[in-house]
C-alpha cells in the first residue's frame, strides 16, 4: 500500500526521453525495418532485378534489347491472356470495392453486440488457405457434386464443361477470389471505420444526417485512402492470377487453357518451353502495368499526403 494514500499526488510531468532511450528506440526501429529491408532485398528487389536482366538478354547473357518483349508480344497467346485478365480485373475490382464497402459499412452501422460475430463470419472463408479454398470451389462449381446445383440449374448449367465456358470464367474466378479474399478486406475496412472518432459521427447525427448520408458523405470520404490501398493491392494480386485458373484447368481436363492468364503464360514459357527470357519479359510487363496503375492511384488520391 502506498503511504501517500489520501494525499494529493504530485502530477509527474512528461519528460522527453533521455539520450540513451532515444538511441535504443532508434536501434529497435532500425532492427525492425532492417529485417524487412533484408527480406525485401532478398525476395523482392533481387528477383525483380534478375527478371529485368533476363528480359533484356538472350540465353547465355547476350544483350537482346527489347527483342524478348517484342517476341512475347507477338506470341499468339499473349493478347488473349491480357484480355482475359483485363475482363477479370474489371469484374473483380468492381465487385470487391462495392461489396466490401457495403458489407463493412453495414457491419459498422450494425448493432454493437453482433459486430464481432458477423466480422468473424465474413472473415471465415478467407481463413482457408488460398489453394485449399479454390479446391472447395471446384466441388461447388461441378453440378453433379455441388450442393448448389439448383442455383446452377437456374442458369441451365448441368455439367462442368458448361460452367467453365470462356465467357463465364472472369465471373467464376471473381466469385472464388471474392470469397477467399474479401473477408480480410472487410475486417480491414471495419478497422478503418472504427478509427473515425465518435464525435464526428455524433455531430453528423445531430446535424440530421441519416444512415445513408452518414455512410456516403461522412464515413466513406474518411476511409478513402484505405479503399485506394485495397484497390492497389487487389489490382496487383488480380493481374497475377495463377492458382484459380491453374486448378480449374486441371479439374476441367484442360478446358481452361494452361495459359489463360499472363502469369500462367510466363510460367508455361519458363518451365515447359524453357524460355526464361520470354517469361521474364512477361513478368516485367505485368510489373510495369501494376506500377503504372499504382502510381496513378497514389497521385490522384494524394495517398501519401498527411492532413
Amino acid at each position: 500500500m502506498n503511504v501517500a494514500d489520501g494525499l494529493p499526488v504530485p502530477v509527474r510531468t512528461k519528460r522527453s526521453p533521455g539520450r540513451g532511450q532515444a538511441a535504443g528506440r532508434k536501434r529497435a526501429g532500425y532492427l525492425f525495418v532492417g529485417l524487412y529491408v533484408a527480406l525485401l532485398l532478398l525476395f523482392g528487389v533481387v528477383p525483380t532485378g534478375y527478371a529485368l536482366y533476363l528480359s533484356l538478354t538472350r540465353p547465355g547473357g547476350k544483350w537482346a534489347g527489347l527483342a524478348d518483349f517484342l517476341n512475347t508480344g507477338h506470341d499468339y497467346r499473349f493478347l488473349p491472356a491480357f484480355e482475359h485478365i483485363a475482363v477479370y480485373l474489371l469484374v473483380w475490382l468492381v465487385v470487391l470495392v462495392v461489396l466490401v464497402l457495403f458489407l463493412a459499412l453495414m457491419l459498422h452501422g450494425g448493432v454493437r453486440r453482433t459486430v464481432p460475430f458477423f466480422r468473424f463470419l465474413l472473415y471465415m472463408p478467407g481463413a482457408l488457405a488460398g489453394s485449399a479454398s479454390v479446391l472447395v470451389w471446384l466441388f461447388m462449381l461441378d453440378p453433379p457434386l455441388s450442393p448448389w446445383r439448383f442455383v446452377e440449374s437456374l442458369f441451365h448449367l448441368s455439367s462442368l464443361p458448361q460452367v467453365v465456358l470462356p465467357d463465364h470464367l472472369p465471373f467464376v474466378f471473381a466469385v472464388i477470389a471474392f470469397w477467399t479474399g474479401a473477408g480480410g478486406w472487410i475486417v480491414v475496412m471495419n478497422g478503418a471505420l472504427n478509427n473515425i472518432s465518435d464525435e464526428v459521427i455524433d455531430s453528423a447525427r445531430i446535424d440530421g444526417a441519416n444512415a445513408w448520408q452518414l455512410a456516403f458523405s461522412i464515413k466513406l470520404p474518411l476511409i478513402k485512402k484505405w479503399v485506394v490501398y485495397m484497390v492497389i493491392l487487389a489490382f496487383a494480386t488480380g493481374t497475377q492470377l495463377f492458382v484459380e485458373p491453374t486448378l480449374v484447368s486441371t479439374a476441367s481436363f484442360g478446358e481452361v487453357s494452361q495459359f489463360w492468364s499472363p502469369n500462367q503464360l510466363a510460367y508455361y514459357m519458363a518451365f515447359t518451353e524453357a524460355n526464361f527470357n520470354g517469361a521474364a519479359a512477361i513478368s516485367v510487363d505485368l510489373l510495369v502495368v501494376c506500377l503504372m496503375v499504382a502510381a496513378l492511384l497514389v497521385f490522384r488520391s494524394k495517398f501519401f499526403e498527411i492532413e
Binding site: P144, L160, P161, V164, L165, P166, E255, E273, A274
Partner: protein, 437 residues
C-alpha cells in the same frame, strides 16, 4: 500431352510379379550408380530393377511423371541445364510428346541418342509398328516406349444383346446405332465428345491431317481435307442428339452419371483399368459386362481400319549420364523385360512383353471376351499422321474446341478451330505450316 492418360494409367490394374530367372541372371552382374525418376505407377518396376540388380546403387526419385502436360520434366531439366548439374540418369515420362518438346534447342540435347549403339537393333526390332515414333527426332531415337494407348471400340455386351444390336465394324454402323439409341433409349450413350483427346480419338482415326509432322520442321495442317469433314459430318447428329455427350470421361462424375447408361465407348486401351475394371475405375462394372472390339473401319468392314492413340509413357535417358552403358541397359530392362513389363499398367510397346502382359490380363476373365485378339490387331492400326508434337494437341483441343462444343456448336465447326490453333502453335515453335503435302 496424353492429358489425363497418365491419370488413367495410374488407375489401371497392377498385374502379377513373375520374374524370369534368365533375365535376372544375365543383367544383375552390372554395377554402378543410377538416379531414376519415376511416377508412382511405374515405381514397382523401378523397385524391381533395384532388387534384381543389387550391385547397382539406385537412387529412386518419385515425381508426377509430367502428368497432364504440366511440364514438370521440362521445368526440372531447364533448371538443371542452367546450373549445369543435377540431371537424373533415367526419367519415366507419362507424356508421349515429352521427347519432342525436349528436342527444342533450349533443352541442349538432354535426351541420349539410343540407336547409335546404346540399345541394340535386335531389341529395337521387337517393338510394335509405330511404337517408337514418339521417340524419333529427325532419325535419332531418343527414348524407349513403355506402353501403347491405341483406341478400340469398348462394348457393353449384355446391353447390346438385350437391345438386339450387333457390334459395329464401321463408323457408319456405329453412327446408325447411336441415332437408334437416341431415339429408342434416350439418355444412353455410344461414346463421349468432351475429352481433351477427342481430336485423337475421332480425327486421327479418320486420317484427318491437322497435326501431321511431315519432317522435323514442317507441319501439314489441312482441316478442310475431306478426311476431316467426313468425320465431322458423321459425329454432328450424335453430338446433337446427345448419344455422344460433351462430358469428361475421366471426371469422377462420369461414372456416377453414365455407369449404367453406356452402350459403347470409343477410347484407348487403358480405359480397361480407368473406366471399367476395379474399385478405382469410373464404372467399376461387374465381370463379363465389357469387351474390346477392333477399331472401326470407314465405309466397308473390309476396308483397312485406322485408329488414334492417347498417350503411352516413355523412358528417357540423360545424355549427361555418368555411365551411359549402365543407364542404357537399365532403361532397356525397364522398358522391355518381361518381369518389368508384367507390372506395366498399359499394353507394352515391346511385343514379346505385350504377349505376356495381355495373357495376364485375360487370366482374370474380367472382360466378356479376351482382350488379346483385339489389342494385338489394334496396336498395328494407329494412324501415323497424327504426330506427337512439341505443342500439346490435346490441350489445344480442350481449351479451344471443347468450350464451343459444350455451348452447343457442332463437331464439324470445331475442326477448323483446332486447325488454326495447331497452326499457331507450330509457328510459335518455329515450324513452317503447309496445307498440302
Amino acid at each position: 500431352m496424353a492429358a489425363a492418360a497418365g491419370l488413367a494409367l495410374c488407375l489401371g490394374a497392377v498385374a502379377g510379379t513373375g520374374i524370369s530367372s534368365a533375365t535376372t541372371r544375365a543383367s544383375s552382374s552390372s554395377s554402378g550408380k543410377l538416379t531414376i525418376w519415376t511416377d508412382s505407377a511405374r515405381l514397382p518396376m523401378v523397385k524391381l530393377y533395384a532388387k534384381d540388380h543389387p550391385k547397382v546403387k539406385v537412387d529412386i526419385v518419385t515425381f508426377d511423371g509430367g502428368a497432364n502436360g504440366d511440364g514438370s520434366v521440362e521445368s526440372k531439366i531447364a533448371l538443371f541445364n542452367r546450373v549445369g548439374h543435377g540431371w537424373p540418369d533415367i526419367i519415366f515420362s507419362e507424356e508421349a510428346n515429352d521427347v519432342q518438346r525436349l528436342a527444342a534447342p533450349q533443352f541442349d540435347n538432354f535426351a541420349s541418342v539410343l540407336n547409335k549403339g546404346l540399345v541394340s537393333t535386335s531389341v529395337l526390332k521387337n517393338y510394335a509398328t509405330g511404337a517408337l515414333a514418339p521417340c524419333m527426332v529427325g532419325g535419332k531415337l531418343e527414348c524407349l516406349r513403355n506402353d501403347m494407348a491405341f483406341d478400340v471400340l469398348w462394348v457393353n455386351v449384355p446391353l447390346m444383346k438385350k437391345w438386339g444390336y450387333s457390334v459395329p465394324q464401321t463408323w457408319q454402323q456405329w453412327q446408325a446405332i447411336g441415332m437408334g439409341v437416341a431415339k429408342n433409349h434416350p439418355g444412353y450413350i455410344v461414346g463421349t465428345a468432351g475429352d481433351s483427346f477427342d481430336d485423337s480419338i475421332y480425327l486421327q482415326a479418320a486420317q484427318c491431317p491437322v497435326n501431321d509432322l511431315i519432317n522435323s520442321y514442317t507441319l501439314l495442317d489441312d482441316p478442310s481435307s475431306p478426311n476431316c469433314t467426313r468425320m465431322g459430318k458423321l459425329l454432328d447428329p450424335l453430338v446433337a442428339d446427345k448419344s455422344l455427350p460433351v462430358v469428361y470421361s475421366l471426371a469422377s462424375t462420369f461414372g456416377k452419371q453414365y455407369a449404367s447408361k453406356t452402350l459403347m465407348l470409343i477410347g484407348p486401351a487403358w480405359y480397361s483399368g480407368a473406366i471399367f475394371e476395379g474399385s478405382g475405375s469410373e464404372f467399376n462394372s461387374p465381370k463379363g459386362t465389357w469387351a474390346a472390339y477392333p477399331p472401326l473401319a470407314w465405309g466397308s468392314p473390309s476396308a483397312k481400319a485406322w485408329t488414334g492413340d492417347v498417350g503411352g509413357g516413355l523412358w528417357i535417358m540423360s545424355s549427361h549420364a555418368a555411365d551411359p552403358k549402365l543407364a542404357a541397359s537399365a532403361m532397356t530392362w525397364l522398358a522391355t523385360s518381361t518381369p518389368s513389363q508384367n507390372l506395366s499398367q498399359g499394353y507394352p510397346g515391346y511385343v514379346p512383353a505385350a504377349k505376356s502382359w495381355v495373357a495376364q490380363q485375360d487370366a482374370g476373365h474380367f472382360f466378356a471376351s479376351p482382350l488379346a485378339p483385339t489389342f494385338s490387331k489394334a496396336v498395328g492400326e494407329v494412324w501415323p499422321g497424327f504426330a506427337e508434337s512439341p505443342w500439346d494437341a490435346y490441350g489445344l483441343w480442350a481449351a479451344n474446341a471443347l468450350p464451343n462444343l459444350a455451348s452447343g456448336a457442332s463437331f464439324s465447326s470445331q475442326i477448323g478451330v483446332i486447325g488454326t490453333q495447331l497452326s499457331n502453335a507450330a509457328q510459335s515453335a518455329g515450324f513452317q505450316v503447309v496445307t498440302k503435302p
